[in-house]
Amino acid sequence: MSLAAIKQYEMPRSERNLYLSFILIGFAHLMVGLFLGFMQGMQHAGIDLYRVIPIVRHYYQGLTIHGVFNVLVFTTFFIAGFLLFVTSTSLKKPINLRLGWLTFCVMTIGLLLTDYAVFTNQASVLYTAYSPLEAHWTFYLGLALVVVGTWLQLLIVGRMVLQWRKENPGQRTPLLAFGALATLLMWGLASIPLAVLFVGILLPWSLDLIPGVDVLFNRTLFWMSGHPIVYFWLLPAYLSWYFMLPKQVGGKLFSEPLARLAFLLFIPLSLPVGFHHQYVDPGVAEGYKYIHFILTFAVFMPSVMTAFTVLASLETGGRARGGKGLLGWVTKLPWNDPSVTAQLLAMVLFALGGISGLINASYNMNLVVHNTLFVPGHFHLTVGTAVALTFMGIVYWLVPHLTGRRLFSAKMGVVQAWLWFIGMTIMSRGMSWAGMLGAPRRTALGSAPYFMDEWVLPSWFTAIGGVILTISGFLFFINMLASLWLAPKAEKQVEVPVAEPLIDEGAKMPAWLDRYTVWAGAAVLLVAIAYTPALVKLISDLSMTVPGLKPY
């Protein structure tokens, strides 16, 4: 790569403000979400704060806000800012700012509608929006607009990559833009069923334009998008682990072709697996559940590849910094850098999250853990840590980069990352443990008359872990606010870390590693195989007759 190519692209102020706005809105919502998480943890241990702190009416309104804000709002808004940012940086030109701000407006209007619905207790249906629990129409419309915003991002990034290719014939798309496009393309395909459900069914139903719904059909549509959405959260974290973090630790990307392959594999494989969320749904044949079980195991493979490539890339960094022996390189990694520490710790817990995910996915083994606290025990390690803590890690360099100020306190950042790691280890241990003992999820356990003695200790784990996490979250927000407004201007702008491949394969890299249409086609084909028979049956049995209810 020539020196000129390494030189960073000077981003205009209005473009930086766009990315910053997305990211700040996301994190502001996370702050509210975390506080409600704290109240939930305490409730499980029998300490009812809902009377003392009347920001929500009851546990389930709080839980709705916790789920919606943390996994729908925070993730989506951060990802919007981050993916647009990396595309622009890696292709070295501004995104279409008019479209960018349009995206921002659409998503923010959607968000305001959603905020209104959940804060007024008119949508306490949890983030899964299972009908026939019915919410106010602003909830469905609001979330649908947020999804439309993600499609606009696909349009922006897709056009830029096509343009770049025309200008650079025969070259492979730069890694960051490649990862951004793969992520948005996967989600663009995967979000169609969700959009159909929200706009085509739930919205008119909540406006009394159609009298009833078909429960199972709606659930099936929801989970067609509902599993791939977890990869929509995860892939931006992978993007940082593969293509940025190696540079931050002074190493190189160990295997570029496999890294690209992993991203591309997610396009077809993350879609046809939705029935693994419906293993215990009556009305879905066991055969389809089995097919989705096998395909779920298949989508585990790109993550297995990620584990190796990312670790090996980190090792090149640790060794370049003088690390010796089998594990000596680990200690040589820059653990004083909060961005690095946060992401490394996120990976450690992701390993556990992956294993517990495999348990959930394990067909009949799911009978034991389905809808128990084991499930939140699992996803607080994955989306709640692998994703959320990585995003915090990214923000530790990204916000200073965008504002031109220094990070307020690196030390505080390192402490914050460790506290998150410790708190989450304790909380998720408590949840999985209670879940194995049969405690149901999405339940105000502290008020449940059937609360069992053996759930007491695990519930305290949940509560104490939750307190530590809340302190960690608090430190993060203080640090961010101070970095935005108090920290001094940096003498030199923080660089965007972009990893170079260990072996530059250049033109030797197969062209099919840069052809999206093939992979998108494979996705459509696999979905057709895994869903057509089941969908045909669901549609031929369709009876949109179940009326809505708002028992909250």
Binding site: P282, M301, N364
Partner: protein, 157 residues
């Protein structure tokens, strides 16, 4: 395309492990009978509407010694019947439906776990060998009183 030797072995090893796991689970499903709820053969329990065994009500009946049929109705926020007494060693077939919204049922310390939808009848069979009290709870959020929704199976000596 260059792939490192260790990396290739790692991928093979992990793939192999997944195949072994999948095979074990398949054996459990096919030969040990640990099955998932599927399409209920009949959407309506054996008895017809009306009378003692009205399908819209909750009831328990003995079909033969240690063979029971339970028709269970879930609604906001209770199960009916909420107490089921049977002798140890009984095999019980549950037909479960919902009157209003989505619920779920999990019988503690058994493999019984299913969603309950309005418009579908979930069918699950389980043999209660060990005497004792098995609490069952609703494990799908169903509104502000969701955590009150429970009952128990009492298996007598």
């Amino acid at each position: 395309m260059h792939i490192d030797r260790y990396e290739r072995n790692w991928i093979r090893f992990a793939g192999g492990l997944l195949v072994v796991f999948a095979a074990a689970l398949t054996v459990a499903a096919v030969f040990l009978g640990v099955r998932l709820p599927g399409i209920a053969e009949q959407t309506i329990p054996i008895a017809q509407a009306g009378g003692e065994y009205d399908i819209n009500k909750g009831w328990i009946r003995e079909l033969a010694p240690r063979r029971y049929e339970v028709n269970m109705r879930a609604r906001v926020w209770s199960f009916e019947p909420r107490e089921i007494r049977i002798p140890a060693g009984s095999t019980v077939t549950f037909y479960i439906h919902s009157d209003d919204i989505t619920h779920g049922i999990k019988i503690q310390n058994t493999t019984v776990s299913t969603m309950i939808f309005p418009g579908h009848v979930a069918k699950v069979t389980y043999t209660f060998d060990k005497p004792g009290e098995y609490v069952f709870v609703c494990h799908e959020y169903c509104g502000a009183g969701h955590h009150f929704m429970s009952g128990r199976v009492i298996v007598e000596e």
